[in-house]
């Protein structure tokens, strides 16, 4: 069974994001440590577990982005993915979620996997759109935010549990399908030293739009401007006797903050 995992490289969760001085539509990438988006790590882990459980198969990691994205793909290979595909071209520099989904769909049509896994959203822009858009472009069924999955013995259907308020919603979905991973699906493994040393020997194939018969046009979704969050106003400490302070607090909440 072949599984494609779509991964995105994002700034480390500890990054203090700053808006670029040179380009108000972009963040300042100087000094950022890049990682595989954590939800995508759940997707990679689940793909590897499916392969291990079945005793055979292939897991292919795919990512779209500039040269630095090779590091994220290398991490996926170190975890155990068999090979990787890097959609790397300046024409994709401003790709929005739809253009990304179209590019991924084109690769997936070539690869013909039985299953596509991705994270429920990337932790940088939190759009959470690519998985569902990808399924739409492929015209495959889709389940988002899955917490549980079981592919049947013939790899014809997958039973998934989706997280909903207070429980799991369980579906049987015909394959091929697109699933997006929610936290709790599994605990991603650490790459072993052997995995890290072996990742160098695995293939990362560079793919251009032309290889997929695509000519990416202008994105439909364009960032006009990024704005930093307004600074939080300082807190106010109400002094005085408790009896008076409580009265003043209630008045301030009612009249100044209009919170009650």
């Amino acid at each position: 069974m072949k599984i494609v995992v779509a991964v995105k490289q994002v700034p480390d969760t500890a990054t203090q994001v700053k808006i670029s001085g040179a380009d108000p539509k972009a963040i300042d990438t100087a000094g950022i440590t890049w990682i595989v988006s954590p939800y995508d790590e759940f997707a990679i882990e689940e793909a590897l577990r499916i392969k291990e459980k079945r005793g055979q198969g292939e897991v292919v990691a795919v990512s779209l982005g500039p040269d630095r994205v090779k590091e994220a793909l290398r991490s996926a290979l170190a975890m155990g993915c068999d090979r990787a595909i890097h959609l790397n071209d300046p024409a994709w520099a401003n790709a929005d979620t739809l253009a990304t989904a179209q590019a991924l769909a084109a690769v997936i049509k070539q690869e013909q996997p039985a299953l596509v896994l991705c994270g429920r959203q990337a932790i940088d822009d939190d759009m959470g759109a690519v998985g569902a858009q990808l399924a739409e472009v492929l015209d495959w069924p889709c389940a988002s935010w899955i917490m549980d999955e079981a592919v049947d013995a013939d790899a014809k259907t997958v039973r998934v549990g989706r997280q909903v308020e207070g429980g799991l919603e369980v579906f049987d979905i015909p394959l091929p399908a697109v699933l997006s991973a929610q936290k709790g699906l599994n605990e991603p493994r650490y790459p072993t030293l052997k995995g890290i040393m072996g990742a160098k020997k695995k293939e990362i194939k560079d793919v251009k739009p032309g290889d997929l018969g695509l000519t990416p046009g202008a994105p439909q979704l364009m960032v006009k401007k990024l704005e930093a969050l307004p600074a939080r106003p300082p807190g106010r400490i109400i002094q005085g006797e408790v009896k008076d302070a409580v009265k003043e607090l209630v008045r301030a909440l009612r009249e100044d903050a209009k919170a009650i």
């Binding site: 170190a78 650490y190 790459p191 072993t192 030293l193 890290i196 040393m197 990742a199």
Partner: protein, 379 residues
């Protein structure tokens, strides 16, 4: 000159960092207090390939280099020095010599399980009367047909209780003094071999330091590593590599203490400002950061020389000396930065202080390192 890790080395460091911060750091205080050997996390370190880093894959190891070993070990030590010594002894003092001096048959039997992390190894050189004076070996191995019969006592053996395999040094020809020393692998449960006690220590308390007793312990001649009389050479060459490991451990201890200090200096206020803004504290932090960087660089230099197959005895001793002295100084100052709180167990900084001390003592005291360096300088 390039000062940059390769992609693989950086990934190995990151993996070790994440694993250590998520799984080792949270239990470090508890296993130190209870002097409890961390079986569960050590097993996971084995699965990740951290216990046989420099051994080729064919012999159960990870096939990585000494630089990878150093950066990974620093990360483990930063979280817990006890885990670091277990890792260092297994990699440097057991796997390295059995790989280097063992035959393929010996590698298959004695190296593969240990490099793969399925069992642990230890290095038994020190005796009651052979510490810095390591030549003064009283343990004897008498040839008897196809066996040797080993009798003697080994003291202060790291991982001595938990190890399944011990690399033991013994006199096979006492008349030839240190040229009559040979090395043997002795398996746990060999009749005549026992662990007589586990020490109660100041630091690295979760690692077991044990006394091994050999009472007419019969070991097949096939367990002898290297030729008769080559044991002392094997021990010294092994300790050169081991010193790089202890240097990395010392750097990690220093980093752990330093990071707590920086955090505390930002949070703790005195005279209306965070204490880091007081020059006396700021300068202590500056000295810590500078010494740590220096210690790390010499350690990486020694590792790089070893990887290049060049002589590294002097650099390994320099790294071990400078890193150990740095760890002790940084950990001492770290307690000072924390003031009264630093003296309290809850702050955890006193653990780094207690752990740092051993790095100035084992695998050659700081004084012995100076002897080695002086000898190399005057060569």
């Amino acid at each position: 000159m390039r000062i940059e890790l390769t992609d693989e080395q950086a990934m190995i460091r990151d993996m070790a960092r994440e694993f250590a911060q998520e799984h080792i750091a949270p239990i470090a205080a508890e296993i130190d207090r209870d002097a409890r050997f961390p079986h569960e996390t050590v097993k996971r370190m084995g699965e990740l390939g951290l216990l046989g880093i420099m051994v080729p894959e064919a012999w159960g190891g990870s096939g990585a280099d000494t630089v990878s070993y150093v950066v990974a070990l620093e990360e483990i030590a930063r979280a817990c020095a006890s885990h670091a010594v277990i890792m260092s002894v297994n990699n440097s003092l057991y796997c390295d010599p059995v790989w280097k001096y063992g035959t393929d048959e010996q590698r298959a039997r004695f190296l593969k399980p240990v490099a793969g992390g399925h069992a642990l190894g230890c290095f038994a050189l020190t005796e009651p009367e052979a510490g810095s004076d390591a030549r003064n070996q009283h343990t004897v191995a008498v040839r008897d047909g196809d066996d040797y019969v080993i009798t003697g006592r080994k003291l202060f053996i790291s991982t001595g209780r938990e190890a399944s395999y011990a690399l033991v040094f013994a006199q096979t020809d006492p008349a030839r003094a240190h040229r009559g020393i040979s090395a043997f692998v002795v398996e746990k449960n060999t009749p005549g071999f026992s662990v007589s006690k586990t020490e109660d220590k100041l630091g690295i308390r979760a690692s077991d330091t044990a006394e091994l007793v050999f009472d007419a312990c019969r070991v097949p001649a096939a367990n002898r590593i290297g030729d008769e009389g080559k044991g002392f050479h094997i021990a010294l060459a092994t300790l050169d590599g081991g010193r790089i490991g202890i240097a990395a451990q010392a750097v990690g201890i220093a980093v752990g203490a330093y990071e707590r200090s920086v955090r505390y200096a930002r949070e703790r206020k005195a005279f209306g400002v965070p204490i880091g803004e007081h020059q006396m504290i700021g300068w202590m932090l500056a000295d810590m950061a500078t010494a740590i960087d220096g210690a790390r660089l010499i350690t990486l230099k020694a590792a790089t020389l070893k990887d290049a197959g060049r002589p590294y005895t002097k650099e390994a001793s320099m790294a071990k000396l400078f890193a150990a002295e740095t760890a002790m100084k940084v950990a001492t100052d770290a307690v000072q930065v924390h003031g009264g709180f630093g003296f309290i167990r809850e702050a955890e900084v006193e653990r780094h202080f207690r752990d740092a001390k051993i790095t100035q003592i084992y695998e050659g005291t700081s004084q012995i390192q100076k002897l080695v360096i002086a000898r190399e300088v005057l060569k």
